[in-house]
């Protein structure tokens, strides 16, 4: 235990706090910024932070106040800050709830994960980017690579003391395509644990193909109502709508009106939380409040069968055993991707920023590249927008049996939203 953490715990234990939580996060990071294949900048970072939350409670009321404590604060500074927080917590009057408690000793995993080799992961990313199958007309404009080791230790007054060590990476890539003096770009951002060379190469190669097609795209016609297919990471927004509305916070706050047993999704859809997904950037054994992350079914046959969320809002809803989920799997499609793609449809593979509003269910996004399939003809289109509302789209929604993983979500590879509104570019 670091000297500063020891000091902080000493201060907390002698304070007026009725309960407390401390998260110590240590991040070591390496970053590389490339313009074309030349190095714009390299960066290193070594950061430590302490997040403290103190609680004051009576039988019915629980108040809390939180603050970052600088890692170089003196014990006197820590004591002053904790005293202020204790006072502030008494102004914040929430219904009482319990903090998480330690698991049985036999189940506990005090430390999960292993040290991360920043140099090896960085090498993988740099070599992958250098070896992309670029051509005279499609290539990499720029790329940013972020690789970190996160070491997160959580302690609370109830006796929890758990540490998670995990890798977290992010890559931002911009791809250019050009033809007859015209150049376009496509943007990609990938989150992952470490570098998956094969997936990164495959996806950026696909992006370069989209770039070629965008150069020959026609303006999107005004289709009014159309069947829209999503087969890229934009589809995560659709499934995130379900995930958000199944959170205890959304239900308690009235953002979501779903309750157990409601038919919230198409009849075959299942949605579950899982503690780990291959190479997810969010593979930690415990959540940020010290609860073990587990597998839990949230939607079964499209019906609400479970919720996820932090202990405060979960307990307000009467759930005693909850956690903040970080990885999700959505399944249940009965048709193949090929079958989903039958008939006329508009497959949109590039948006400027596709959004699904968890409160209203409104969907919206400007189309940067789509493929309009009518009969035997397929043309690439660009411009205009797609809009609609999930309450109207869910009953007619279809999704494939095949799946695809985007960082912390494994979702159907192909999702079809029948009857969306498509505003043309002209």
């Amino acid at each position: 235990m670091s000297e500063n953490l020891e000091k902080l715990l000493r201060v907390l234990k002698s304070s007026e706090a009725d309960a407390w939580e401390v998260t110590e996060t240590r991040e070591k990071g390496w970053e590389f910024y490339l313009i074309r294949h030349a190095l714009d900048q390299n960066r290193v970072k070594e950061l430590t932070s302490f997040q403290v939350k103190v609680y004051r409670k009576t039988e019915e009321i629980m108040g809390s106040a939180g603050a970052p404590i600088p890692p170089d604060a003196t014990e006197t500074e820590m004591a002053r800050r904790i005293a202020e927080l204790c006072q502030e917590a008494s102004y914040v009057r929430n219904p009482v709830y319990r903090l998480n408690t330690p698991e049985k000793e036999t189940d506990a995993v005090p430390e999960s994960g292993s040290p991360v080799d920043l140099k090896a992961i960085s090498r993988d990313f740099l070599q992958t980017v250098a070896a992309l199958p670029e051509t005279d007309t499609e290539d990499l404009n720029s790329c940013e690579i972020f690789v970190s080791e996160i070491r997160r230790r959580f302690l609370n007054s109830e006796g929890i003391d758990v540490t998670a060590v995990y890798p977290r990476s992010m890559t931002e890539a911009v791809v250019n395509a050009r033809r007859d003096g015209q150049e376009i770009e496509l943007y990609r951002m990938y989150h992952s644990g470490t570098c998956d060379r094969e997936q990164l190469t495959r996806d950026l190669t696909e992006t370069m193909r989209y770039g070629r097609d965008k150069l020959t795209a026609r303006p999107t016609p005004a289709l009014e109502k159309a069947d829209v297919i999503l087969s890229t990471d934009a589809a995560c927004e659709v499934y995130d709508y379900f995930i958000t509305r199944l959170s205890a916070a959304a239900i308690y706050r009235g953002i979501s009106n779903w309750k157990m047993g409601d038919q919230a999704a198409p009849e075959t859809m299942t949605l579950r939380t899982v503690p780990q997904l291959p190479n997810s950037s969010r593979n930690a054994a415990y959540d940020s409040e010290g609860a073990r992350i587990r597998e839990r079914m949230l939607l079964d046959g499209g019906k609400v069968v479970g919720l996820w969320g932090n202990r405060q809002f979960s307990q307000y809803l009467g759930l005693t055993d909850s956690f903040i989920a970080s990885n999700f799997v959505i399944e249940g499609g009965k048709a193949s991707a090929e079958e989903i793609r039958r008939g006329d449809y508009l497959e949109i593979v590039e948006f400027s920023d596709f959004q699904v509003d968890a409160v209203t269910g409104d969907i919206a996004g400007e189309i940067r590249l789509g493929y309009l399939h009518r009969g035997n003809e397929t043309v690439s289109v660009s411009g205009g927008s797609v809009s609609g509302n999930m309450s109207e789209l869910i009953p007619k929604m279809a999704f494939s049996a095949e799946s695809r993983q985007y960082d912390c979500m494994r979702i159907p590879a192909v999702t079809r939203l029948n009857g969306a509104t498509v505003t043309g570019a002209v």
Partner: protein, 481 residues
């Protein structure tokens, strides 16, 4: 009163100056940015209350920038001990050498750039505020926010609106930053604050969230005006609940100042961030000196051109704040630029080099982005539309500097028919189009203008910083879906 500069940073300065001297023995250029920004955020609703001393911009840490043989490198860290500068020097150089060895093995060559100039400069800016966030009476503030939340539910019901919850949030941050080089010593201290009222309202078949906000480069005294925004939030909630869908198509519209600001930000704000010129990612580079809007369009950008949440004295590279005329009477004049990009492009930096926080890289970023006012009145503008909408409230936008496409998601459209507002509301609206077409269609500009600073801005999908934008009412032609 003046917002006092951080005693913590003052104590760090001698050690950091020693570190700069040590690093100068190995590197052609060395600068240090240290930050110590504190604040609070209080969030109060009917269902949950929270107080935290973390805002979007609270931070404490140091970043060192060095240049050797044309390559720029940075090291960011927390917990600098001013009595142990040599230890920090050892850690920084060792870690960077480890990276250099990997880059050498992989034969990655640098994007060669000259060393930044280090002309002598001193700034000590303590800006005015009435109150400081670190001294604010949070008990009184929580009580005031609770009262606003309670009134939101009660007054909404009195006006026939079923309010599920009324959330109020007040946050205030005291920014302290110190930028040092061998010949420069820049220190600034200022306070900004922002308040939000978000009203969650339910209709028979839908739930809507109505937002209002206020912001300023000022202390928590801003929240004394928060209750005045409640009636606006209730009015918006009622409008959203009764709203219909827009029939997709091209319309004559009037953009309210917050929508004008969103257009300024997405259309030309991002489009002339000149680090994108270095990468060949912005069409704007080819349009300098050319027409991009109607004669009525003039746009400014800079920390000096308004007083709001990001009106600083110098940027995160030690460049003094500026005021750039980006568009003058429809002609694109210039862009905004961070120091490194300026060096690469052979232009002067404009004071727009910003970091999300000390641990992040510098990019060219916006500060205050605003359209200039014109000489029409809103009434004249409405009278000039036979079929269209008055667009109010912004949800989000997305830039497209390479192709000048625009996506703005607008909260509400108020129907105008035969020169009069009909009372019919449509929501939400996706406004898309080609930027020069949109700006070229601006045919009337109002006399008054407003600036909004309660949001954040990302570069791509990351690097979140505070920005403010706004302007007058604009009459234009756009495509709505």
């Amino acid at each position: 009163m003046k917002a006092p500069f951080s005693a913590y940073l003052t104590a760090l300065a001698p050690g950091l100056k020693q570190l700069i001297q040590l690093l100068r023995q190995k590197y052609d250029y060395v600068s240090v940015l240290s930050t110590d920004s504190v604040g609070f955020q209080a969030t109060i609703s009917q269902r949950a209350k929270a107080v935290s001393h973390e805002t979007m911009t609270t931070e404490r840490g140091t970043v060192v920038r060095v240049c050797r043989n044309g390559l720029y490198s940075e090291a960011a860290f927390t917990g600098f001990d001013p009595d142990r500068a040599e230890e920090a020097f050892g850690r920084i150089t060792e870690e960077l050498e480890e990276q250099f060895s990997l880059l050498e093995t992989l034969q990655v060559s640098p994007y060669e750039t000259a060393a930044l100039s280090d002309e002598s400069r001193t700034i000590f800016a303590e800006m005015e505020t009435e109150r400081l966030p670190e001294k604010e009476d949070l008990a009184e503030l929580v009580s005031r926010l609770t009262e606003i939340s309670d009134r939101g539910v009660k007054e909404g019901a009195e006006q026939g609106l079923r309010v599920i919850d009324c959330m109020t949030r007040a946050s205030s941050t005291h920014i302290c930053k110190m930028f040092l080089t061998e010949h420069q010593d820049l220190r600034q201290s200022y306070v900004y604050s922002e308040g939000v009222i978000a009203l969650l309202a339910a209709g028979e078949e839908r739930t809507e969230m109505a937002h209002t906000s206020l912001s300023g480069r000022c202390g928590p005294e801003l929240f004394d005006r928060m209750a005045e925004k409640l009636s606006e939030a209730i009015r918006i909630g009622k409008d959203l609940i009764s709203a219909e869908r827009v029939v997709p198509g091209e319309y004559d519209v009037i953009t309210a100042p917050e929508v004008t600001g969103l257009i300024a930000h997405e259309a030309f704000g991002h489009g002339v961030e000149m680090d994108m010129f270095v990468k060949g990612r912005a069409l704007g580079a080819e349009y300098i000196g050319k027409r991009v809007g109607s004669d009525l369009v003039t746009m400014h950008e800079g920390a000096l051109c308004a007083e709001d949440v990001t009106s600083y004295a110098f940027d995160d590279e030690g460049i003094p704040a500026g005021d750039v005329t980006e568009i003058k009477n429809g002609i694109l004049k210039t862009g905004i630029c961070d120091a490194l990009s300026a060096l690469r492009l052979g232009v002067k930096p404009t004071g727009n080099g910003k970091r999300e926080n000390f641990a992040h890289k510098v990019y060219t970023r916006m500060t205050n982005t605003v359209f200039d006012s014109g000489d029409s009145t809103l009434e004249e503008m409405i009278a000039g539309i036979s079929r269209g909408y008055l667009l109010e409230g912004m949800q989000s936008g997305m830039e497209d500097p390479k192709h000048w496409g625009i996506q703005c998601i607008i909260d509400r459209g108020y129907e105008i028919a035969d020169g009069k507002l009909t009372g019919k509301v449509v929501s939400p609206l996706v406004m898309t189009g080609y930027v020069p077409d949109l700006l070229g269609s601006v045919s009337m500009v109002s006399r008054d203008r407003e600036i909004f600073g309660s949001g954040g801005c990302g570069k791509g999908h990351k690097e979140w910083v505070k920005v403010a934008d706004g302007g007058p009412y604009l009459k234009a032609k756009v495509r709505l879906g």
